[in-house]
Symmetry: C2
């Protein structure tokens, strides 16, 4: 029995955490059913058994897990007879870079869409989100995104090494997606679920790769409430 606390907006069906999406795709890769529980930023206390206050939190029987990377490693070991998320120990080590690049990419994207995130939040979360993010950025959410159109080309340029990788293979994991793909998909799916802002040109190899992942597992990610962006 698997349960995932999954970040949600004012609309409980809108699930937009880039880290929760990594886990949902990893679970689908393993062919595992999961019950997702909508969770808001300010509901720290319900996560207490995990020993911290952020999602994703996965509950497997009576084991509480957090951190998307650690959850993926746990799933790989507990469900070792199912398709591998890493392709072995060396593949797991190599996937760390993909995961860290995904974190970096999320840090770039948030500067373009943080106000869209705010707009979709549940009323309970809005004050917390604005205060914590404005403190982090040292400016208002409106100021963070004010010049996003001017910054978008540099972000697209910076994705060249990712784009080049998809010239020779359909997925970062090769012929089929691996956790490395889900990690990098996370921030793009997050953006798609929360913002109408178009990050990628339609013919960008990264957009086409994202399309393949949106279609994977019976369109799990495409079916999620979001934008055609």
């Amino acid at each position: 029995m698997l349960k995932l606390f999954d970040l949600a907006g004012a609309d409980a069906a809108r699930r937009f955490s880039p880290y929760c999406w990594r886990v949902r795709m990893a679970l689908a890769h393993k062919g595992l059913e999961v019950e997702t529980i909508p969770w808001r930023f300010t509901e720290k206390s319900v996560l207490a058994p995990s020993g911290q206050g952020r999602v994703p939190v996965l509950v497997h029987d009576n084991t509480w897990l957090h951190e998307s990377w650690d959850i993926a490693c746990y799933l790989e070991e507990q469900f070792a007879d199912r398709p591998s998320l890493f392709g072995g120990m060396q593949g797991r080590a190599l996937s760390r870079l993909h995961s860290n690049l995904a974190d970096w990419l999320g840090g770039q994207i948030v500067r373009l869409i943080v106000l869209d995130v705010y707009d979709h939040l549940d009323a309970r979360d809005k004050a917390y989100f604005r205060e914590s993010r404005e403190k982090r950025f040292g400016m208002t959410l409106e100021a963070v995104v004010a010049d996003r159109d001017a910054r978008l080309p540099a972000l697209r340029d910076s994705l060249a090494p990712l784009r080049a990788t998809l010239k020779g293979q359909p997925y970062f994991g090769g012929d089929r997606p691996l956790y490395a793909d889900y990690a990098l998909f996370g921030p793009l799916q997050w953006a798609r679920c929360i913002s109408p802002y178009r990050l990628l040109e339609a013919d960008d190899p990264l957009a086409l790769w994202r399309d393949r992942l949106l279609d994977a597992y019976d369109g799990l990610a495409r079916a999620a409430p979001g934008y055609d962006a």
Copy 2:
């Protein structure tokens, strides 16, 4: 019998191609002896049997190979009983990103050290190099590097995902280096062999990782003529 055409400077012992270094480290990983042949940019004709004019070119018996990635894949297949460079097919696919990031890193570093490269070239190569590179950059070599001190902090910042990966493991390949490590080592070893300019702070996790690779295989890379930079 293995022979590698290896880019050299005015001093034939100074070997500085980032792509040749990937291959030399991969050969050492496989425990293979290689004869390196100093080669200059303008000696295109000696590479003719490879069907193109750039190094690395590896000759194995009567097979001529080029492109560092393709050479690594060839070595992996031909010497499959020796330590793997990739850790399996999925590891190979995952390593593509490391290789492409290394290409990107080389493209950043050249903008800091291209004049140092020029200064170390054999007299035969200098006019060719200046003309081809000034055409590529649309400015003199002196202008390319003029503001390098101002651009260095941004380059160091952009390496954050690489640095983060080495927090949890000593090599990109895990407990031991893989081709992914040699690919990323290439541009740093290139810089070290050709330029006194210090790219990394001494306590940068990337510098410490580079140190481990400089010491690998009986200090193969550390013994190469270069700078303590």
